[in-house]
Symmetry: C2
Subunit: 758 residues, 2 copies
C-alpha cells in the first residue's frame, strides 16, 4: 500500500482554503487600530516638484499621517542601481511615481486626503522613447549619468567570418511591448509595529526574505528588526519579486504612525504601480547553412527600462544570451542596451526576457526555413542542443526533452497534415511552431543558488515543512508536501507546509528563475531523508536490530527480512523524544546547485543545475476581411524533467500559454504622453475564456540528473514559444509576417494590403 | 570591550513591551468575527444533572453556540488519571465544575445566555473532607473506585530500630491549606480555525507543547492539526501548566462554531476555575540523636486533591520524598494518601508540594532543637547534605550552597543577637529560620528532561532564538538571550527570543520543576556554540587561516595571533549564505540531563541534573493583645548555582517570599458547603505592600557542574522556607507553636490563651 502521490495529479494543498474563501491574502488581514494607506502619484512623466502642501490633508479628521519625500527615508532602492526613492523628492520621472502617502482610519478618508494634498509641479520635457533618450544632447534622466542604464556586449568565435561563409543570411528587426502581470490579487500589504517594536509585514510576495532585506535596507533597520510573513499570494508572474513599492510604503506608514497600516492596490493603482515586462526592439541576424544549421548569430537589443532600472538589466541579459544556449552555436555576438525613459518602470515577468527574444528567434527560424525550403521543424531539430553538450556560453545540458517536445506538439496539432494548407475564402488557416529553453535555478543571483528546508516530525507521525520559497499559486507547497510525504511514506495530508515567515523559516531566495522545484525540492529530499534516518535509528533502538537491516515503508520502519517486526512513524517520533538523550525530530536540509559562478567578465558559466525546454504548435484562423486572428488550437509541450504533479504542470502550462496568447494578440498597455491610458481590465484586454480554444498541453520527462526525481522547473518555459508560434501560423495562413507585437487586426490588414500591393 | 551581560543585572527583554502596554496577552488578541465565550458552572458540590435546556439561551440573538456535556467530546483529561470532562455530563463533582459553554458575539450576550440555560439538578450528598471521603462505606466519588486517588509508601533502612535508638523522638501533625496562584493575568485563550482548517490557539500557558498535546487529545485531533502559540503570559505559579480547562473550552467552542472564540476568565471565574495548591495534613515523626542529627523519619500525609486528581499525585510525591534528600538520612518511611472530595480540584503550585512538607519539617526541627537546647541553625547545619553526597533516595548532589545560605540569611537578620529576646510588653519580637531544597529539572516527567534551542543568525549579525520553554514573567527569554549573546559576543539587544509557537519552535516540555535555566540554558549553549563554530569556519574560509588559529571575540572572528585580522559576525553570517555550498546559519542544540530514570518500583533515582537550596530568616512582631503577626524583616538566600541575572533572581526570590508570607499569614480560600466563598481579592487577602517589610534576598553561587555557567533553577526554592521561618519566629516571640496554617490572629490568640491556662 503505497501512499505516495509523486508523479500523480493531486489538488494543490492550498486549494481547499482558497476554494472555501478562507485563505488569508494580505488584504484580508485585519488588525485592531489598523489604518488604511493610499498613495498620491505624479500625473506627469517628468516634472519638478515645486512644493507640496499637506496641511489640508493632515487636517482632515481621521488622517493620521501624510508623508512626502521630504519626510524621508532617503535611501534608494533598486536591484541593479539603487536609484528609486519610496517617495519622490524634488523631481518625478514617470507618470505614476509615488509622491505622497497617506494613512487614515478608513480607506475613504485616505482617498479623500489625497485630493487635499496640494502639489505644485513644474512640468518638464519628457523623453518618452529610447530614441529620444539616446539622442545626442538628450539630458540625463538621472543626474550625472547618460540614459544608458546598462549595456551588454559579447562576441564568441568569429562572427563576421561565419556570416561570410553562410549559405543564407537574414536580418530582421522585431519589436515587443510591455505586458502587465495581471495576477488575480493586486499588490497588498499589512504592516505593523509588533509589541517588541519590530516591524511586522504581511505581504503578497514571491520572496519573503528578499522583501525583508529590501524593507530593512530602505527603512534603515537591521534585517532582524523586520519580520516578513508571506500572506497567501494570488499570483506573481515576476511582478512580486522585488520591484513593487507597495510593501515599502505600507511599512513606512506603519513605522511613522506606530499603527498597523493596510495598503492594498485597487486594479487601477496596480496597473500604474506594477512593473510590466521590458519592451525590446531586437534586431536579429542569422546565418544558416544549406541544411538550416545556424552558423552565425548577431543580436542587437534596445530595451526600455522606463524611469528606473529595477530588474530590467537582468531581464535584458536573459534576452541577450539565453536562447543562444538552445542551439549548437559557435559564432555569436550580441550588443544590448538598456535605456531610461520617462515612462513607468519595467522589469521581471514570467519568462524573464526569454519571451521577447524567442519571439524574434522563432519567427526568424520560420522565415529562414521557408527561404531554404525546409520544414521549420527540421531546422529546430538540427540546431537543438543535446544532452551532455555544453553551449556556447558554457551551459551544461544535463537533460533536454526538446526533440520530444517538438514531436509531441506537432503530432498533436497535425503539423504535417495542416502545414501550408491555408484553405480558401476569407478565413484562412495556418499552423506554426516555436521552441524554447529556460533555466531551472540561476546562480547569477549571488554566489548561492540553494535552498534550506526544515522537516519537523510531530508525535502523531505527521510532518511540518518550513521553507521560505514562495507559493504564489504555482504549487510550491504541494511540491514540497509531495516530496516529503513520499520520502517518509506519509499520506500527503499528513504533511503541512508552513507559510513562509522570516522569523522562523530558514533563509531562502524565493520563487524566481523557475528554481524552487529543483533547489527546494532537493533540499526537501535532504531534510526528509535525514528525518528518515532518525526514524530508522530510533527503530533500531526499539527493535534492537541494526539500522542496516531496517527500511522505512508504508508509514513504519520494519525489519527488511521480517516485515511484520515494525514500529509506526508516530511511535518512533514520540519515543525519539521521550528517552535518554532524546529530542524531537526536527532536521534541516540544504541543497546548493553544483553550478559555476557566472563569470561576469566573460559572461560565461554553467549558471543553472538544469535547463527546461518547451515547444508549442498552434493553429490559427485569420479573417482576411477583418484581420482578426483566432487561435483554433494550441498544444504546448513542457520538458519539466519529471512531472511531480502533472495536473499542476498542465495548469501552469496552460496558464502560461494563455498569457503568451494575451501578449501576442490582445494585451497592449497604451501610453499616452507617458501616461498609462488603459490601466483597467475593460481596456487592457487580457484573453477571456471565449477568446481561447481549449488549451492543450503535454509533458515530456527528460529526467534531469540534478533534479529531485529528475524534476526541473516546470512551465515558466511554456510562456516562451507561444508568440512566435502564432506569428508563424499567421504567416502560414496568409503569408504575412508580423514582427511588431501585438498582432492586431489592424496590423494584419495593413500587412495583407501591403502584400497585395507588392 | 566585552558586551556580555552574564552575571549582571539587566532588565528583562520582555519588559519594554510590558511597560509600554504593548505586550499581547491572550486577552488582547482580537480577530475579526471573534466570539466571546462564557462558562456555566455547577452551583453544587455534588449533583445529578437531570436535564439541561439550552433552547432559550440558543434563541438569544447573538448566541452562536451553547454546548453541554452531551455535545461531547467525551474524552477525559487529567495528568495522573484521565477522569475529567471538558463539560460535565450526568453528574457534577464540585461547585464550579463546567456544565455548559456559550459563544456569543459579545461578552455581555454570552453572560446573559448563561442565565437562560435551564439546568435541573438533583443535589446529592457531598463528601467535603478527606475524613468523610475515607469513612467506611463512603460512596466512590468516581464510579467503580474508592476515594483514594493515589497512594505512596516506601521505607528505607530500619526505621523502627532507628527510632528506638533515638535520643529524642517528636511527633506532630501539621495542616496546610490551599493557595490560589493569584497571577496578575487570569487564564485566557483565543482559539480559531485557521484557513487550512487547523485549530490555532493563543493561550496563557507554562507549556505550549503540553497544551497542544492535551487539546489535541481531548478534542480528538492529531497534534499536528493544533497550533498553540504562547501569548505573553502574566504569571503562572504552576497554575498554568496543564490543569486549567480554559484553553480546552475556548478550543472546543472555536471548533464547533468555526469562528474565533475568546475566553478570558474574570477574577471571580478564575478563582473557581484555577487549581489551588494541595491541602495536606502531615504527621511528622523525627528521631534525633543528642547532637540533633536526624536518625529516623516517619511521614504520613493525607492530601486532598478535590474532585479530580490533576497533578496532585505528583505534588504529593514531592511532599512525601523531596525534603528527605536535603538531609543525610538512612532510615525514612513515608505513607501518603491522596483523597478525592467533592471540592474544587487542587494541583501544581510554585514549590510543588515542597512548601507543605517544609513547613512541617522546619517547624519540627525548631521544636526539637529547642528541646535539645540546640541552636536550630546548628541542627540544620549538622543534617545538611553536602556536595558529592548521594541522598537516601539516590539523588546526587553536585552542588549545594545550603550552609552558605544559612549563614547569609542568619547574619543578615541578626539571628544570634536577636534569638530568644522577645522583649516585653504586648508586642513581642522573635526570629525564625528554615531551610529548603528543590530540584532543577525532573526526569520523572517522562524519560526525557531535555530541551532544544534553535539559534538563527541573520545577515545583520543578529540572532533569533527559538525555544518553546515558557516565559511567564520569570525571565526565561532574558536568560536565553543572555546566554546566546554571551556565547556569540553580541549585545543583548541583538538577540531576539521568539515567542513559543508549536508550528515552528522545537518541541519542549515547558516551564515547570525549575527546569528551564538548566535544560534550556544548556541547550542554548550547545546551539550558540554550534553557530559560533560555523562563524569560525566561515572566517577560516575568508581569511584563509586554520580554524584552530581563530577565536570569536567582540563581535568578530579574529586570528588569535593577529587580532586585527578579523571578520565581523554580520559579514560572516552573510557570506556563509552567499557562497558555493552555502546556507544560512540556523542551528539546533539539544541538551538532556544525564540523570537516571526514576525507578517507579523503588522510588529511587537521581531525578534532576542539579538541586537548588535556600534558607530564610525572618523577624516578626506578635501583638499579644490582638494575635496579629507582623513581619518585620525577612531575608531569603537562594542558592541558584550562578545568578545569570541577579536582578531577576532577586525579583523572583522576593516574589516567592511574598507568596509564602501570604500563604502563611493572610491567604485563606474559604469553602462554605463546598463552595468557594471568598473568590475575590477583597476577601482573599493576598499581601499588599503595606503588609510586607522591605523584602531582602541574597544569592549564593554554588556553581553546579551541570549548570550553564554553574546556574541552577532560581528562586522557586525561595517560596519553601518562609512559612516555617515565620512560625518559628512566632514561637520565638511568644512561645506558641502554630501547626495549622494560616497563622491567623485568632489562632495565635487562642494558642496564647491556652498557653496561659496550661
Amino acid at each position: 500500500m503505497s501512499t505516495s502521490t509523486l508523479g500523480t495529479s493531486v489538488p494543490q494543498v492550498t486549494a481547499r482554503a482558497k476554494v472555501l474563501g478562507r485563505a488569508q491574502y494580505a488584504g484580508d488581514i485585519q488588525i485592531p487600530g489598523m489604518l488604511h494607506g493610499k498613495v498620491l502619484r505624479s500625473p506627469y512623466p517628468h516634472a519638478r516638484i515645486v512644493s507640496i502642501d499637506t496641511s489640508a490633508a493632515l487636517a482632515l479628521p481621521g488622517v493620521k499621517a501624510v508623508l512626502t519625500g521630504a519626510d524621508g527615508p532617503r535611501v534608494c532602492w533598486g536591484t541593479h542601481h539603487k536609484e528609486r526613492r519610496i517617495l519622490a523628492e524634488g523631481v518625478v520621472r514617470f507618470a505614476g511615481e509615488e509622491v505622497a502617502a497617506v494613512a487614515a482610519v478608513t480607506e475613504e478618508i485616505a482617498r479623500d486626503a489625497l485630493d487635499l494634498i496640494q502639489v505644485e509641479y513644474e512640468e518638464l520635457p519628457a523623453l518618452l522613447t529610447t530614441e529620444q533618450a539616446l539622442a545626442d544632447g538628450a539630458p540625463g534622466i538621472h543626474p550625472g549619468r547618460d540614459n544608458v542604464s546598462h549595456e551588454i556586449r559579447f562576441a564568441r568565435g568569429d562572427v563576421d567570418a561565419a556570416f561570410a561563409q553562410a549559405h543564407l543570411v537574414h536580418e530582421q528587426a522585431y519589436s515587443t511591448h510591455a505586458q502587465y502581470p495581471g495576477y488575480m490579487e493586486p499588490m497588498a500589504t499589512v504592516a505593523r509595529m509588533d509589541p517588541d517594536g519590530r516591524l511586522q509585514v504581511w505581504t503578497s510576495t514571491q520572496s519573503a526574505f528578499l522583501a525583508r532585506a529590501r524593507i530593512a535596507s530602505v527603512l534603515e533597520l537591521p534585517v532582524s528588526q523586520v519580520r516578513v510573513i508571506q500572506a497567501t499570494t494570488g499570483g506573481g508572474f515576476g511582478g512580486k519579486i522585488i520591484e513593487d513599492a507597495n510593501n515599502l510604503i505600507a511599512s513606512l506608514l506603519a513605522l511613522r504612525t506606530g499603527q498597523p497600516v493596510r495598503l492594498v492596490n485597487n486594479r487601477l493603482e496596480d496597473f500604474v504601480a506594477a512593473c510590466t515586462s521590458v519592451p525590446e526592439r531586437i534586431t536579429l541576424k542569422l546565418g544558416m547553412d544549406r541544411q538550416g544549421r545556424i552558423v552565425a548569430k548577431d543580436v542587437r537589443i534596445l530595451a526600455d527600462c522606463g524611469a528606473y532600472s529595477g530588474l530590467s538589466a537582468e531581464v535584458m541579459h536573459v534576452s541577450a544570451m539565453r536562447s543562444d544556449n538552445m542551439h549548437r552555436l559557435q559564432h555569436v555576438r550580441s550588443h544590448a542596451t538598456l535605456v531610461y525613459t520617462y515612462t513607468p518602470p519595467h522589469g521581471a515577468f514570467r519568462g524573464f526576457g526569454g519571451t521577447q527574444m524567442l519571439f524574434a528567434l522563432n519567427s526568424h527560424i520560420d522565415t529562414m526555413a521557408r527561404k531554404l525550403d525546409l520544414d521549420p521543424l527540421e531546422v529546430h531539430r538540427i540546431n537543438a542542443i543535446e544532452r551532455g553538450e555544453t553551449s556556447v556560453h558554457g551551459w551544461q545540458v544535463g537533460s533536454t526533452g526538446l526533440q520530444e517536445c517538438l514531436s509531441q506538439c506537432t503530432d498533436a496539432i497535425g503539423w504535417k497534415a495542416k502545414r501550408g494548407k491555408p484553405g480558401h475564402g476569407s478565413k484562412r488557416r495556418g499552423v506554426g511552431i516555436a521552441a524554447a529553453m529556460h533555466v531551472s535555478g540561476n546562480r547569477t543571483i549571488g554566489d548561492w543558488d540553494g535552498s534550506t528546508v526544515v522537516v519537523k516530525l510531530n508525535e502523531d507521525g505527521r510532518a511540518f515543512v518550513h521553507c521560505a520559497e514562495a507559493d504564489m499559486g504555482q504549487g510550491a507547497m504541494t511540491m514540497l508536501a509531495q516530496l516529503v510525504a513520499h520520502e517518509l511514506t506519509l499520506p500527503l495530508e499528513h504533511v503541512h507546509v508552513v507559510q513562509p515567515d522570516t522569523d522562523s523559516a530558514p533563509f531562502a531566495i524565493g520563487s524566481l528563475a523557475s528554481r524552487v522545484t529543483i533547489v527546494a525540492g532537493n533540499a526537501a529530499l535532504v531534510a526528509a531523508r535525514a528525518a528518515r534516518d532518525k526514524l530508522v535509528a530510533q527503530a533500531a533502538r526499539l527493535l534492537e536490530v541494526a539500522e542496516s537491516e531496517l527500511e522505512l515503508a508504508d508509514g513504519a520502519v520494519r525489519v527488511r527480512a521480517e516485515p511484520k517486526r515494525k514500529r509506526g512513524i508516530a511511535e518512533l517520533a514520540r519515543t525519539h523524544i521521550w528517552r535518554h538523550g532524546g529530542e524531537a525530530i526536527q532536521v534541516s536540509g540544504t541543497w546548493d546547485a553544483k553550478t559555476t559562478m557566472f563569470d561576469k567578465q566573460n559572461l560565461m558559466g554553467n549558471i543553472a543545475p538544469a535547463y527546461s525546454f518547451a515547444a508549442q504548435a498552434v493553429e490559427v484562423e485569420v479573417d482576411t476581411e477583418t484581420g482578426q486572428v483566432t487561435l483554433v488550437d494550441s498544444f504546448v509541450s513542457d520538458d519539466c524533467g519529471k512531472a511531480l504533479n502533472p495536473q499542476a504542470v498542465h495548469g501552469q502550462s496552460n496558464g502560461a500559454a494563455a498569457q503568451a496568447i494575451g501578449w501576442t494578440l490582445y494585451e497592449h498597455l497604451q501610453l499616452e504622453d507617458g501616461r498609462i491610458a488603459n490601466g483597467n481590465f475593460a481596456d487592457y484586454t487580457m484573453p477571456t475564456p471565449d477568446a481561447l480554444p481549449m488549451l492543450r498541453s503535454g509533458i515530456v520527462e527528460s529526467n534531469d540528473p540534478n533534479g529531485p526525481y529528475g524534476a526541473k522547473g516546470a512551465s515558466e518555459t511554456a510562456i516562451l514559444p507561444g508568440p512566435a508560434a502564432i506569428a508563424n501560423a499567421v504567416f502560414d495562413a496568409v503569408g504575412v509576417r508580423i514582427t511588431d507585437l501585438p498582432i492586431t487586426p489592424e496590423k494584419v490588414l495593413a500587412a495583407l494590403r501591403e502584400k497585395h500591393h507588392a
